[in-house]
């Protein structure tokens, strides 16, 4: 992306040589991000399909296993991500309105909430580890059908793990964005990169909005 190489916050210096003008560059970047998100949908889709197949086959097992997940922590995380998406949307607005300080605050706020999400996730994973719910040699399950319960937890860790990787990457990108904002790279309404990262962050949020009920609320009476 050209903003990483040009030293000045002069608008014409932002246009990469393959593009005719800033409009074309912005449009291309946005379309590129949408297509990338489409590939991510298909990527997660494979895991969602696996979940669906096994939920259909081993419904009771899934219900029992799901009860071991903390609905409180999961719901908190859902709220955390939703608020972070709000911050992100406001950050895009701030960039559009050339409000540098506000932009930096909101970007850092989004990243911070991302970190909160990861912290809560870490607490959950740690508890699962201590409770011997992590699939592998140390997995223990005392009631019926440990084999398929292990499968549930495998799907749980795979889906939330893949999601967590995406959140982590997102946090990194947000911090870089905040740094660039501090250096003035998004002045004069060059808000496009912020908007594109916003798209990514909203996608990560939406994936969680699906994951939470499917994994945590299955056992909810």
């Amino acid at each position: 992306m050209p903003i990483l190489t040009s030293p000045l916050s002069d608008e014409s210096a932002f246009v990469a040589e393959q593009f005719d003008d800033i409009e074309q560059q912005r449009d291309a970047a946005k379309l590129g991000m949408w297509i990338f998100l489409a590939t991510e949908v298909l990527f997660f889709g494979g895991l969602f399909l696996g979940y669906t197949v096994y939920r259909f086959t081993y419904g009771d097992v899934f219900i029992d296993a799901s009860r071991r997940l903390s609905v409180l922590l999961g719901a908190t995380n859902t709220a955390v991500l939703l608020i972070s998406s709000l911050f992100m949307a406001l950050a895009v607005r701030a960039a559009k309105l050339d409000q540098r300080r506000q932009l930096i605050r909101l970007l850092l706020g989004t990243a911070l909430l991302g970190l909160v999400f990861m912290s809560i996730k870490t607490v959950e994973y740690h508890k699962d580890f201590v409770d011997h719910l992590v699939p592998g040699p140390h997995f223990e399950w005392s009631s019926k059908d440990p084999q398929n319960t292990e499968l549930f937890f495998w799907i749980y860790f795979a889906m939330t793990g893949l999601h967590a990787i995406h959140v982590t990457v997102g946090i990194g990108v947000l911090l870089v964005l905040a740094l660039l904002a501090w250096r003035g790279k998004f002045a004069k309404r060059n808000y496009n990169p912020v908007e594109i990262v916003g798209l990514y962050w909203h996608f990560v949020d939406i994936v969680w909005v699906f994951l939470f009920p499917l994994l945590y609320l299955v056992g909810h009476r």
């Binding site: 040589e17 297509i35 494979g46 399909l49 398929n148």
Partner: protein, 551 residues
């Protein structure tokens, strides 16, 4: 060696003094290039390495199959040979071939752009490809894989004693390379067309690359997840596909073929796009039914996503699912048929000449028609029960992928060679190689249809003696086919130094890529061209009246 007869050549001017090849010199300028043309060449060199390895594997297989007994290599080795042949040919040769080599080189120029939308991502995609290839080669060096390119479970997850995860990792990484290429091409086509270049004025090669990119972007992630799931089960013993661990082996097949069927359309659509360019240029005629050909590309891409179950008619899939997939498979054949009829009709009232690219194009139409028709045999439920997993299937897909796609790749390579290098290949040698390839190909693969209906299963190292005659014919054909591929390697290299200088437009073709010098400058166009009309604005009448031959 003469490059062409004097009366044929219409090359004006010389090679450009400064062009994309000599503007920056040195290894670093190549390894850090963001020029789509150089990246296309990087891909060309890399895929040739994998093509060579996979061809050697095929040669060894065909040698083994000369005799009914398994006497050349052990069973385990044979199984590794057909696996490496499939994995390398599919993922490391065919899928990148036309898109990443010819598409990278030609697409931006065809639409009047200076480069693709994301040049640095383009370079990154090549590095991912190399990294994936390195992992695959490492798996080979460590001893190879014997699961077949289809990695069916539970054999691959629980029973195989070979380096499955390493190979799967290589394919996984290379998959991201194709996703990025597809993303780049789609964005480029949407956003970077020259002024006046509306969608329906685009060359059909661009349409076919767009349809291919749609598949690359949507199908490949599913492959990535499937390979990851398979590797997790293999490494950690977690039951997803192995019934002994509570899994479902047929689920793997659904996930795998959901990607791999669309993948085979990745391995033919770009070839069809090239054929549209060649047929129009060498018959000096507007394509017949432009709108239908463009729409057919999109229809193939979309319908290709809903037919995967035709690989699973005898897998224990339900009879009703089989019927749904069968009718849909018949439907997806229709747009391909439409294209073949449109190409044929294009020849009517044209002014047809038979340079090497045209020979490959005509060969494509013949072999693709046969290959496509044999696909109907496989779509027909009752017949597929008999020929599934037999040499009939092998013959079918080689007719499409080799008789079709590879011929199209060769045709396109010959056609755009003067643009890429500034020089012409030797025409007589080109024609000779095209004909040797055509003959060798048919001799190799036609007998396999007969073998398949007789009942010879695939992936067989040894076979009953009554199958020997056709196996011998097939191996004989393969040796001829090999010569057909070696010749271009030799004369293309030769042409780099000694080939006739081509000038900007040796074929007098329409198309923006021919409005640049050969080889083109780094940024393709001095000024962005403006497009005012349809593509393929040839006039056969004019051409014939002036009694001109094309080059």
């Amino acid at each position: 060696m003469k490059t062409a007869t004097e009366i044929d050549i219409k090359t004006e001017g010389q090679m450009a003094r400064t062009h994309y090849l000599n503007v920056d010199l040195g290894l670093k300028s190549w390894l850090l290039t963001t020029d789509h043309k150089r990246i296309g060449i990087l891909y060309l060199c890399t895929i040739l390495i994998f093509f060579a390895i996979a061809s050697v594997a095929a040669a060894l297989m065909r040698l083994e199959l000369l005799t009914p007994q398994g006497d050349l290599v052990t069973s385990a080795t044979y199984n590794k040979l057909f696996t490496v042949h499939g994995v390398l040919m599919v993922w490391f040769f065919l899928i990148p071939s036309i898109p990443a080599v010819l598409g990278n080189f030609v697409l931006p120029m065809m639409i009047g752009a200076r480069d693709v939308a994301f040049p640095k991502l383009n370079l990154f995609s090549w590095y991912l490809f190399v990294a994936g290839g390195a992992l695959a080669l490492w798996s080979l060096i460590r001893g190879g894989v014997d699961t077949g390119w289809t990695f069916y479970t539970p054999y691959s997850t629980t029973y195989a004693n070979s380096h499955v995860i390493l190979m799967a990792a290589g394919v996984f990484v290379a998959g991201f390379s194709s996703i990025i290429t597809g993303l780049n091409f789609m964005t480029t086509t949407h956003k970077m067309r020259a002024p006046g270049l509306t969608w329906f004025r685009l060359p059909l090669f661009v349409w076919s690359l767009y349809a291919t990119s749609l598949i690359l972007v949507l199908a490949t992630p599913v492959l990535a997840i499937t390979l990851a799931l398979m590797s997790v089960e293999r490494f950690w013993g977690i039951g997803i596909f192995d019934p002994k661990l509570g899994g479902d082996p047929v689920l793997f097949q659904h996930l795998f073929w959901f990607y791999s069927h669309p993948a085979v359309y990745i391995m033919i659509l770009p070839g069809m796009g090239v054929i549209s360019e060649l047929i129009t240029c060498f018959s000096r005629k507007q394509i017949f039914g432009y709108g239908f050909v463009a729409a057919a590309s999109m229809a193939i891409a979309i319908l290709g996503f809903v037919v995967w179950g035709h690989h699973m008619f005898v897998s224990s899939q339900s009879v009703y699912a089989g019927m749904v997939f069968s009718i849909l498979s018949f439907l997806v054949a229709i747009p391909s048929a439409i294209k073949v009829f449109n190409w044929t009709a294009t020849l009517h009232k044209g002014s047809i000449s038979f340079q090497t690219p045209m020979l490959y194009a005509l060969g494509f139409i013949g072999l693709f028609t046969i290959g496509g028709m044999t696909g109907l045999f496989l779509a027909t439920l009752a017949v597929d029960v008999h020929v599934h997993d037999s040499y009939f299937v092998i013959a079918h897909f080689h007719y499409i992928m080799v008789g079709g796609m590879v011929m199209a790749f060769m045709g396109g390579l010959h056609y755009w060679w003067p643009k890429i290098t500034g020089r012409l290949y030797p025409e007589f040698a080109g024609k000779l190689a095209a004909m040797i390839t055509f003959i060798g190909f048919n001799l190799t693969f036609f007998p396999q249809f007969i073998l398949g209906y007789l009942g010879m299963p695939r992936r067989y190292h040894a076979y009953p003696p009554e199958f020997q005659l056709f196996n011998v014919l097939s191996t004989a054909g393969a040796s001829i086919l090999g010569i057909g591929y070696l010749l271009p390697l030799i004369y293309f290299l030769w042409s780099l130094k000694f080939g006739r200088v081509a000038g900007p437009n040796p074929w007098r073709a329409t198309g923006l890529e021919w409005q640049t010098p050969s080889p083109p400058p780094k940024h393709n166009f001095k000024e962005t061209p403006i497009v005012t009309g349809r593509p393929y604005a040839y006039s056969a009448q004019e051409d014939a009246d002036l009694n001109l031959a094309t080059v």
